[in-house]
Symmetry: C2
């Protein structure tokens, strides 16, 4: 039986990857009176007077919603709400497995930004935390920012921030191994969807000074035509030392082929096979390649190595150095719920990345970040949130 068939059979057998269970058995009328009528009225009355008590007396204190509109699911694209459900259930299962949190998959029958915001706000009272998942860019930025501003519970778009934290953790160790300095290195980020934007922002926060960002149309720079607001924002923090056209005094637009030359680090969150052997060879010595497109990376690790790459990371579990969000989201949510923080700040993300990098005892070219099944990773991340 091949893997596809195996996955179908498992999904069919389980009928959903998570279930809800009672935390206390209800054995007789006395139990029924305590958990329900008439005595349940008492916690209701207390919460009615003091809303915060919902964190103590109900599941609000340990519950995450994994919310998606099915618009940007894995490499499958816009497959809609119902078809995205197996992925959201998986995510919920991992929240439980690695973060001991209750997580509920909520997939939405709308892809309208305003309607998504309204719907999520309407269902927020029973939730401790909102994890946005697989919502396409640039809508995901608006949705996350608005929900952050308008709700008093943490909102986290994992495709952005989870990916950015693991990516930075890997990069911290990769720099250590190659002896490169964060203030000196030259980075190119290929792909300006959710992950690419968040990675770029976090690298800048970390203190990396020279980043060039490339979309399918070429490098992004101040003055390039028809940039959306997110890309416009990126022009102020990236590609600030571009090659100027002597005539117009504007940056010259390069393709990826030119943009990677003499760079130290390539981070691809783009599409399969975007990076060629020749491009790797054109980079600085000991280049670091993060080819994170899934399931097919921008370049295969063995090809990149042949072309001179010192360290290669991918999104896949069948190669070393998997940049996997599961290293971060269970722990960061558990820590945030425990410490009742209302927002994940850039500072917390930097701490989490550093803690994750430190969790690898002896970093090597084939082990720049922990493995998902390494013990204690979620605890380390949860601790770092403080």
């Amino acid at each position: 039986m091949d893997y596809f068939q195996k996955s179908i059979e498992l999904h069919k057998k389980l009928g959903g990857k998570i279930s809800t269970e009672l935390k206390t058995d209800i054995k007789n009328s006395d139990d029924l009176s305590t958990v329900y009528s008439p005595w349940v009225a008492e916690p209701c009355r207390v919460i009615a007077k003091e809303e915060e008590k919902a964190y103590e007396y109900t599941m609000k204190g340990n519950t995450v919603a994994v919310i998606s509109d099915g618009s940007a699911v894995l490499g499958l694209g816009n497959i809609g709400a119902k078809a995205s459900l197996p992925v959201m259930e998986w995510k919920c299962a991992l929240f439980k497995k690695f973060g001991w949190l209750n997580a509920i998959p909520i997939v939405l029958d709308t892809q309208d930004t305003e309607e998504i915001i309204k719907t999520v706000k309407n269902i927020a009272p029973w939730l401790g935390w909102i994890n946005l998942e697989d919502i396409s860019a640039p809508r995901c930025f608006e949705i996350e920012n608005r929900l952050k501003a308008e709700l008093n519970i943490p909102v986290f778009h994992d495709d952005q921030h989870g990916t950015a934290i693991v990516c930075l953790a890997g990069l911290i160790n990769a720099l250590k191994i190659t002896g490169k300095d964060k203030e000196e290195i030259k980075v190119v980020v290929n792909g300006v969807w959710a992950a690419g934007v968040a990675i770029t922002n976090l690298l800048v926060q970390y203190g990396i000074k020279d980043i060039v960002v490339v979309d399918s149309n070429g490098t992004i720079y101040a003055g390039r035509e028809k940039l959306n607001p997110t890309k416009e924002m990126l022009t102020s923090i990236t590609n600030t030392a571009c090659v100027l056209d002597p005539g117009s005094k504007k940056c010259i637009k390069w393709g990826l082929e030119e943009a990677v030359i003499w760079r130290d680090v390539f981070i691809g969150v783009s599409v399969a096979w975007a990076l060629t052997k020749e491009m790797v060879a054109s980079m600085n010595d000991d280049p670091i390649i993060f080819a994170l497109a899934n399931p097919s990376p921008e370049i295969m690790p063995d090809i990149a190595k042949q072309a001179g790459a010192k360290i290669v990371a991918t999104g896949r579990s069948d190669f070393p150095n998997q940049i996997n969000n599961v290293l971060v989201f269970p722990g960061i949510f558990a820590g945030a719920l425990k410490n009742r923080v209302s927002q994940i700040t850039d500072n917390m993300k930097l701490h989490a990345a550093q803690a994750l990098a430190n969790a690898v005892e002896n970093p090597s070219v084939d082990k720049i970040i922990p493995h998902p099944f390494d013990k204690g990773v979620a605890d380390i991340i949860a601790e770092s949130v403080k």
Copy 2:
């Protein structure tokens, strides 16, 4: 420690009455590949092509949402979303305990009819069934009817239909015991909120011909001023043989005191202490009293008995004959999900009530309906849905 304190302590200890759990463990990278990337893509692709497969491959096939806006919670009234959560969690726990279904409590931060409808429609893709709970009348009628019409999954307002089914089941056995005939009896229903309307409708469907409905303002009849649309509808099926005013030729408005005289059955879904000893004494011989207000009934069972009541039922678990929705909702949802019915019809409700009545082997004045912990009740109800 008193019961109030006991309930608070339990809620605090549990931090929510339900949790989410993995249905299969994730032990290693191979498991991770099967439940997640890359192989989870396969069930996603299948569902994208054929939506119905979501019932097989995801939790949709066995998941109920218990949805409330916190506007009419127990006897507590409009306490809002967060404060209603302990009740909704309880309900979810009972779905699991008695119906083996996953149930998620979703409490809403809006009490606007249109917003509730929109929000519920937006979150429907992952749900097998929607159970509306503790939403105040008359908004609950509009919300339920619209969702029924606009969604293709079953929508059930348990405060209405669950109560009506259990109530009819109890009445069927009460009539058997007292030898009263459904076509001859005179019924008075006191209280015209969600439960009162649904009970009246189901009794009419069952074949009871003479029902008088009373709200806080008196009897409801054709031509009474300022009736809302629901009450207006009731005038065509109840109080059709009212006493006419000789001058105006309109029905004379009676208070409950006059309306109960010579009636065989009193069904109260109203407020504490609404029914006096004297009113019971004014009814026909062997009157049947369902005093369902919670936690304090319309009349205490011992007082009603002293005044001549033959059979008394209440909503409480500390008296015999508890009219408890838990006898119905787990089974009816389980049966409907199993048989993939898209709506619960009046016919199904009548079948469920009859099956529940039949489940009592030897009905007696103190046992007109099963006890929640009697074995097999949910199965009997589930079977009746076919």
